[in-house]
Subunit: 358 residues, 2 copies
């Protein structure tokens, strides 16, 4: 899968050698090019060519490999694995690698196996390919965003005074999985009250009180593709300050999404949203980037960042997530997932953005 | 944390530069040496010295960093990050790296930043250090195994005819999180009936029928430490063959655990368990290694493997997980987590190993 799109970007037809990591540190490209739906493929290799992909695996994962369209070669020992890789690559004096996920240990192993081969990093071409989603990838992301949106509404309906942040997180994960999500890629960020001032907070036993902000930032996983959704609501009646913070962030979110289209430049989109916050009394309180790509990884490419000249293209999928964080008071973030189109964008996350009072 | 233990293993006092990966691909050593309890530290750096550790991070994660005992240096731009790293390391002509997690892109970046520095891989010394757990680490693992054991008993009590594998997985994850687990590191392996023949199966919509094996292999996460537990039961009455398979695997599990002690050799432990299966009519049906270390990673070091001469040491924590897999029929795996002691081992996973008929 995707081999043609990649080879339209790299200059030459050299094969690409991908070495997968351990179970908890796989290279997502192993799944991108193989289309494997399950299996861990720990420390397995893969050779991608213009004409197709070869999975080099042990018997334990061979069944998962055989369900793909790839050639499957099975090894029993590490020596056999090396020999298969050498046989597959010895005809080429140059081999591409994916330096952004390949670990240095595997890199040294490759250089030892193929001492006369020149290794060339093609990770930026791989990322450029992965940034532009196919219809099938967009369909998976739409399902993931739909699951997130419905799960959040379920979780809001179960909120009660005295509930802990951890309990809310558990309720949200359960609801996503009941709605068809695989285990999410990351722990949800769940914060109540003053804890919402930390953008990357981790849920604690802090209990919910009347008047608290509730911030939920979380991701559903469908067909290996991940959504990313944040909403901030109030438990009880919102104060004047809470309304004001939420209103400014919502304006920034809407302006950011509106600025996105094929041809727009990342830093221009970021500036439009940031200016809204920096023109308010919360100037300087938006302490992270406006957004990031989503796909096989939660933080994928491209970034919507003040320092990025990246030109957005049709079928990129990105988050828009402005926020305001006031230490000791709290924070608001409103995050949506959009698909870039020729003339604008389609927002996939479809739960309300208004300030909900639970 | 742990700096002294590490420097007792490496030959020289050179500083160690750790570059953390992205949110979903962190280097666990970033947390091992800092003791950070939360935060993502995407692409952040860290310098470990005999005298202590310095976290080099952006403002977004500074709060999480300041809750540790480490020195904290905050950067705003990538150029500032590089300058801090250069300043920290320029006095040493040699710098250690952790090649097993460092990605090649970061490695090339380091070499560019410090062109006259020699980088030396110390990942095997780091792994040797991490293999021997402190009392505090063992306490976290004990809590994780306790959560797994109780969650499994809860999940068994909710099993019903027609339930899907995915539904069972959701029930298990919810129960673990309710009992205090963070989001598990990996999707549980849940298989019913003939699907239990695949050791790394991924839950489907297959519905539970009378007479099915149910195999659950899953992990709870507590204080960033992960357990790993597998049990296989029967929904309804077990057949003669199911009883026989389970009985042989249980014998192998018990013999394996009994063979473990400080000074035992990995491959000898593996052979004792494997011989029991290979002496039965299921010879050759145990198609993976006997066990692996657990800790900050689900598949950590050391491996209990037929090719490993590793000598087990007191306070290593490892799994013992023999299995029999018969394509078209089903499989049985019984996995426990043990701490190696001077004279034997302590089994932390404490739910029954007998063949349960639900």
């Amino acid at each position: 899968m995707h081999e043609k799109d990649l080879y339209a970007r790299v200059k030459d037809d050299y094969p690409i050698l991908i070495m997968n990591g351990t179970k908890t540190y796989p290279d997502p490209n192993y799944f991108y090019f193989s289309g494997a739906k399950f299996g861990g493929f720990e420390n397995c290799a893969m050779v991608v060519n213009k004409s197709g992909t070869t999975i080099i695996t042990m018997e334990l994962e061979a069944e998962a490999a055989r369900e793909t369209d790839c050639e499957v070669l099975v090894y029993k020992t590490q020596a056999e694995r090396s020999q298969i890789i050498i046989d597959k690559l010895k005809a080429s004096d140059k081999v591409y690698i994916n330096a952004s996920k390949l670990n240095v240990q595997h890199y040294f192993e490759m250089k030892k196996m193929l001492p006369n081969t020149t290794f060339i990093d093609c990770s930026s071409e791989i990322l450029s390919t992965r940034m532009i989603k196919t219809e099938q990838e967009i369909a998976s992301l739409k399902e993931a965003t739909k699951i997130s949106s419905r799960a959040l509404e379920n979780a809001w309906s179960k909120v009660h005074e005295g509930m802990t942040e951890k309990e809310f997180g558990t309720s949200l994960v359960s609801s996503m999985m009941e709605l068809g999500s695989a285990l999410p890629q990351c722990e949800p960020t769940i914060a109540f009250g003053e804890n919402t001032a930390f953008p990357h907070f981790q849920a604690t036993d802090r209990r919910l009180k009347r008047g608290d902000f509730i911030l939920a930032d979380f991701n559903a996983l469908y067909n290996k593709y991940t959504s990313d959704l944040t909403r901030t609501v109030v438990f009880g009646n919102a104060s004047k300050e809470q309304n004001e913070m939420h209103d400014i962030v919502l304006q920034a979110n809407e302006a950011g999404r509106k600025a996105i289209k094929d041809g727009a430049v990342s830093k221009d989109v970021e500036r439009i949203a940031r200016n809204i916050i920096d023109s308010s009394r919360f100037k300087g309180k938006f302490i992270h980037g406006l957004g990031h790509g989503i796909g096989l990884e939660l933080h994928d490419h491209p970034a919507l960042s003040i320092s990025s000249d990246m030109v957005l293209k049709k079928n990129m999928t990105i988050t828009v997530e402005p926020g305001i964080y006031v230490f000791g008071v709290g924070g608001v973030r409103i995050e949506d997932d959009v698909v870039v189109t020729k003339d604008g964008s389609i927002t996939m996350t479809d739960t309300t953005r208004e300030l909900v009072e639970l």
